[in-house]
Amino acid sequence: MREFSSFRDPSGVVLIQDGQVIRQVNRCYREQYDALMAKLYAPLTERGLLIPHEELGQAPEDENAYRLIRPVQIPYISYPYEWSFGQLQDAALTTLRIHRAALDQDMILKDASAYNIQFLNGRPVLIDTLSFDFYQPGSPWPAYGQFCRHFLAPLMLMAHKDLRLSQLMRVYIDGVPLDLASTLLGGRGGFAAKQHIHWHARSTQRHGEDGKGEVRKVSISKFSHQAMIDSLLRIVGGLKLKGVETEWGDYYAHTNYSDSAAQSKEALVREFLEEVKPKTAWDFGANDGRYSRLALAYGGSVVAFDVDPVAVERSYRAVKAAKEPMLPLVLDLTNPSPAMGFANRERVGIAERQKPDCILMLAVIHHLVISNNLPFSMLAEWLSSLTGSLIIEFVPKEDSQVRTLLATRDDIFPDYTKEGFERAFSPYFTIVRQRPVEGSERTLYLMRAKGVQ
């Protein structure tokens, strides 16, 4: 079966066979593919920049096909609007490093799409093995505009204006338009922004609209081309988030848990996980991934979602240092990533990418039900469509954090009780275990979705 989003590039096709991603290399891409394999594949995969693959012996059915390759499988596909600042920055650096290494071998990276980068064991890798082409002497980088829209513009907006501007990537599927980035940045970002955003935006507008611009072949020497990429590497590498703290960034420092309650909760989560032994798990409201990490004990992968980009950033740094098969992502549970792009099928929603064995949902329910007025039953129905097993913590009204949430609003939640919670979940889940979290008012449940073995 052909993967829907791989329609742009004539060099090959992405196929899904028995749940595995297979890439077909077309005959028209034969020379580039052979050159890549001869000169670049080994150094790029050794540096962890390009996804490794194996060539399949089977004869391709398609007469256009030259080779079939099976890349190492990515456990969970993610998109730039779900990444923290550091994830987008590392993805940008990976893109630049690959192009820089390719130039040394008289090749180029012809696309600089953020969607071609995915995370594997905490590190960004290029997944599009067919993104390479031959370097034509004197030619500028054809992917430069795309690089600025997909990486540099959102990174500069996040670093210099507001971290939340990463969400512009969710609106503009081909990256942040440079004239918009230019307006939003204003005078921030120094000389780097002046060149790559402001001048670049003006040049794109002037020479894109009326055709009055001079039509001539642009030529830059290879040395200048390399210097430009080196300069971009310094600019991207030098971007930093300054003075960022959000409401949940310091959660564990401000939690109402005592040490003993935290330990009790951790022991219970471990015990419940031991019953499920998930190969794939999601953690909704993962914060810095403290409990998500427990699900790694079963040899699989974990996606740790949180609404707070600072918590996700912190989690990512830890994951990257430890090279863990965990993927921290930014996600608002009240408005999860939708299906987008052509026919709404190029980028898929969170649930279409994986059905995890288990979902952890600790200390989140009161935010959804009380802060967001979401009925228990709607939450239960949604969760049961996502997973077979659920480890969920109920936080009662007596809990100090719920009291804080209710302090400034009317209590219109008569059913927000332990019994009401169990009643609402029972059509969708069977309660397998329930235990009080010692030292707190809370209860931890292990549930199994009905209709799932």
């Binding site: 980088w141 430069y144 794109t204 507008q205 039509v215 642009v218 830059i220 200048s224 210097a227 430009m228």
Partner: protein, 57 residues
């Protein structure tokens, strides 16, 4: 004639790449000066900072 908006991205690279070459030379120059004064010791080190500032301009 309609031009691809990508043409503007190509065109601006001629200017940006030229600036990058200038920047690269300045970096090498700066490293040499810093390296030179580091060898000479702390007294001349203060002078190096001045020169470094000029080089960056």
């Amino acid at each position: 004639m309609y031009l691809d908006p990508g043409f503007g991205s190509m065109l601006i690279q001629a200017l940006i790449a030229a600036i990058a070459v200038g920047g690269a030379y300045l970096l090498v120059f700066k490293k040499r000066i810093v390296g030179f004064f580091k060898k000479k010791g702390a007294v001349e080190g203060a002078g190096a900072k001045e020169d470094e500032g000029k080089a960056a301009k």
